[in-house]
């Protein structure tokens, strides 16, 4: 029975629309995975010695941070980890037993990247602990407990993913706990550290997380099994629709028509709403670089581009795929390509502008930092917005906007490949800024980047004609690519 499932999964994997098309992308992701794997393993091995050098007891210190580690892991999962869905509906009427279907769907999640990546840290760390003379049985028990907690997160994510916006609550909780600890109001680690330490020191304590994990699996299993009906877990949630006229946009003519549609697109689809949340996260990206003396100064422009460019990178990247489900309609209507592209461009410009205004809290780091962000925004509007739209002509992955389902639905759409596509758009300004820094000073670097942005803005009409031409050339292959749904 399971063999049949694996056969189906393999076919689904190799025949998916995106497979094989982006070989270069696959290779890049592969390299990135290897890079992160090595990084994690290095951390696992190195953490022990680094901490000991700092005159800290390694295991206790790690245990101190584990509560944040696991909370953060849960947030990341809620945001990014897609729940692998078997194509369940056609299986229901075939002679498969329901428990088999559920066990397999749940078992599949256990193999997710989001689970095994932790092993890369915990296993080397545990090996070092054992080698350094820690009690081997204790270390194994500690490791088992840690893994139980990781899998608890895995199943929590499955159960909780049906509740929208829950990750905001968890982020809030993390921030609150961290703040309370920082200002010495309340220290959560003083409660959790002994518990984590106990998994190592007290024999048998590790059974608690293991038992919790088993109970949670049983609960998830039961929940899924009871919902394995077309009108329960497999049903589509129908939203209550409200007709909106957005009449104030009429004054912009054709542009207004498209903007109206785009606003509705963003508001009413789970997938596009996620992009808005992601672009808000981009706003805080600068905290990693600004005020951090360990980062090279050249990286400031990197942050500057990112802070205002969140929407551009996560939404703009997929123009025109957002309209993929009704692309044939667009192609038969009386639509000038230019109007269509211009409306998307304005959307990007408006979002970039708003992000830049919100980012004014970086003034806290001084006006020079904020200037970097403004320069980044100019570059985004002048150059990156065009690059993103041009790239769109070649993006032929259909986006299924309506994929939001019930308990089994795959609702998470934000993916790593979207992030990777952004890299080339950052290297150029980085280079310009570096040249400026090398030849003179920061101001020269900033003016070079801003100049490139302004130049792009001046050439807008020319670039748009080019983009328009490209879209027309790609028209037929885009239509046929969008026709294959996943």
């Amino acid at each position: 029975m399971i063999k049949k499932f694996i056969y189906l999964e393999w076919k689904a994997f190799t025949r998916s629309a995106s497979f094989g098309v982006n070989v270069a992308m696959k290779i890049l992701i592969g390299f990135l995975m290897i890079y992160f794997s090595i990084l994690f393993i290095g951390m696992g091995v190195g953490a022990f010695y680094v901490l000991r050098k700092m005159n800290l007891e390694p295991l206790v210190t790690i245990n101190q941070f584990l509560i944040y580690y696991f909370l953060f892991d849960l947030v990341i999962r809620l945001l990014m980890q897609a729940i692998p869905v078997l194509n369940i509906k056609p299986l229901l009427i075939l002679p498969f037993k329901k428990p088999t279907i559920v066990h397999f769907s749940l078992g599949k999640t256990a193999l997710s990247f989001f689970n095994w990546v932790h092993a890369l840290f915990f296993i080397p760390f545990s090996v070092v602990l054992a080698l350094e003379g820690y009690d081997i049985a204790g270390v194994i028990f500690w490791l088992l407990a840690a893994f139980s907690l990781i899998y608890i997160n895995n199943f929590l994510n499955i159960i909780l993913s049906n509740i929208d916006k829950l990750f905001v609550v968890f982020i809030g909780a993390i921030l609150l706990l961290a703040a309370a600890q920082y200002y010495k109001v309340f220290d959560i680690t003083s409660f959790t550290t002994p518990a984590f330490q106990g998994f190592y020191a007290v024999k048998g304590l590790f059974l608690i997380p293991v038992l919790v994990l088993i109970a949670l699996y049983a609960f998830t299993f039961k929940y899924f099994k009871n919902n394995l009906f077309l009108d329960a877990g497999l049903s589509k949630k129908a939203d209550i629709a409200e007709t909106e006229n957005l009449a104030w946009l009429n004054q912009f003519g054709t542009l207004g028509t498209f903007l109206k549609n785009d606003i509705k697109l963003i508001k009413r689809n789970k997938r596009s709403k996620t992009t808005i949340v992601m672009s808000v996260f981009f706003l805080f990206y600068g905290f990693i670089f600004f005020g951090n003396t360990q980062q090279p100064e050249v990286m400031h422009i990197f942050a500057g581009i990112f802070v205002s460019g969140g929407f551009l990178f996560v939404f703009g990247q997929f123009v025109p795929s957002w309209d993929s489900s009704y692309y044939q309609l667009m192609m038969t209507q009386n639509i000038p390509y230019r109007g269509y592209i211009t409306s998307k461009w304005w959307l990007i410009v408006i979002a970039t502008f708003i992000s830049t205004i919100i980012a004014s809290f970086y003034l806290f780091y001084g006006w020079e930092i904020y200037l970097t962000i403004i320069v980044g925004a100019i570059y985004n509007i002048g150059v990156n917005s065009h690059l993103v739209l041009l790239g769109g002509a070649f993006t032929k992955t259909p986006i299924d906007l309506s994929s939001a389902g019930g308990a089994f639905g795959d609702k998470k759409a934000f993916n790593v490949s979207a992030m990777l596509l952004t890299l080339p758009k950052i290297l150029l300004p980085l280079g310009l800024y570096a040249i400026g820094l090398y030849l003179g000073n920061k101001t020269l670097g900033l003016s070079l980047v801003a100049g490139a942005g302004a130049l792009g803005f001046i050439l807008k009409d020319k670039v748009f004609s080019l983009i328009e031409k490209r879209y027309k050339i790609e028209k037929y292959s885009t239509i046929s690519a969008y026709k294959q749904k996943n």
Partner: protein, 231 residues
């Protein structure tokens, strides 16, 4: 109105459509019948410039459809659900199409009011997005949307499929009314011989991409077609 010249479409070495010459005069209601895979949708997709012809071309109102885009302003079409925008309500969808075809809100409201019977109270003001409507109701929206802006060419692919009997008879009336207008050319494809014969002046039967019958509708047409498709 529509002129087809040496048109063919080849996929992987297999000719799926091959029409040497076909002329559809203005005001005709034209029915395209055939089995699955006969090339009906392929022909309509070529007519709408959604796929490229392997050879030949189609002109619509003297505009060659794969070189100029000017045919779009007088052509209304509905092939399948991919012509609908799932996250809009039916009203918003009609207004959106209306905007693109330079119709104001009042024009659209008048058009919708005149088709209230066809909608059967299941479309308008229902607090549902198009993606949550049933297949049949989605089709109703798509069909009426093709009529926005008084197009001169209306193209409907399998309009009778998925509709309930009452709606089918109402749809036939809509198509007949359109056909009576000498300025409107209607193109309909269907598996259903009887429906097509009822609404069309002329029927063309396709088989494996070739035209195998081209008849002006008369009393005997249905019988003739039925005996042709019977094996």
């Amino acid at each position: 109105m529509i002129q087809v010249n040496q048109l063919s479409k080849i996929y992987n070495g297999i000719k799926v459509l091959n029409i040497d010459n076909l002329e559809i005069p203005k005001g005709q209601s034209f029915g395209l019948v055939g089995n699955n895979g006969a090339g009906k949708t392929t022909f309509f997709s070529l007519l709408l410039d959604l796929i490229q012809p392997s050879t030949g071309n189609i002109t619509s109102n003297t505009i060659q459809v794969n070189t100029s885009e000017n045919w779009k302003s007088f052509t209304g079409s509905f092939l399948d659900e991919s012509f609908l925008i799932g996250y809009l309500t039916p009203e918003e969808y009609f207004y959106f199409i209306g905007d693109l075809r330079h119709q104001n809100k009042a024009d659209i409201d008048a058009l919708l009011a005149s088709h209230e019977e066809f909608f059967n109270g299941e479309i308008l003001n229902n607090k549902k997005y198009l993606r949550d409507l049933s297949k049949g109701n989605q089709k109703k929206v798509g069909i009426i949307a093709t009529l926005i802006g008084n197009p001169e060419v209306v193209i409907l692919d399998e309009p009778f499929a998925n509709l309930d009997p009452t709606t089918v008879s109402r749809l036939k009336k809509i198509i007949k009314d359109l056909a009576e207008n000498p300025n409107v050319t209607v193109l309909v494809s269907s598996h259903d011989l009887q429906h097509t014969v009822e609404v069309c002046d002329r029927i063309v039967a396709l088989n494996k991409g070739e035209i195998v019958k081209d008849i002006q509708t008369s009393k005997e047409t249905l019988q003739e077609l039925e005996s042709f498709f019977a094996v």
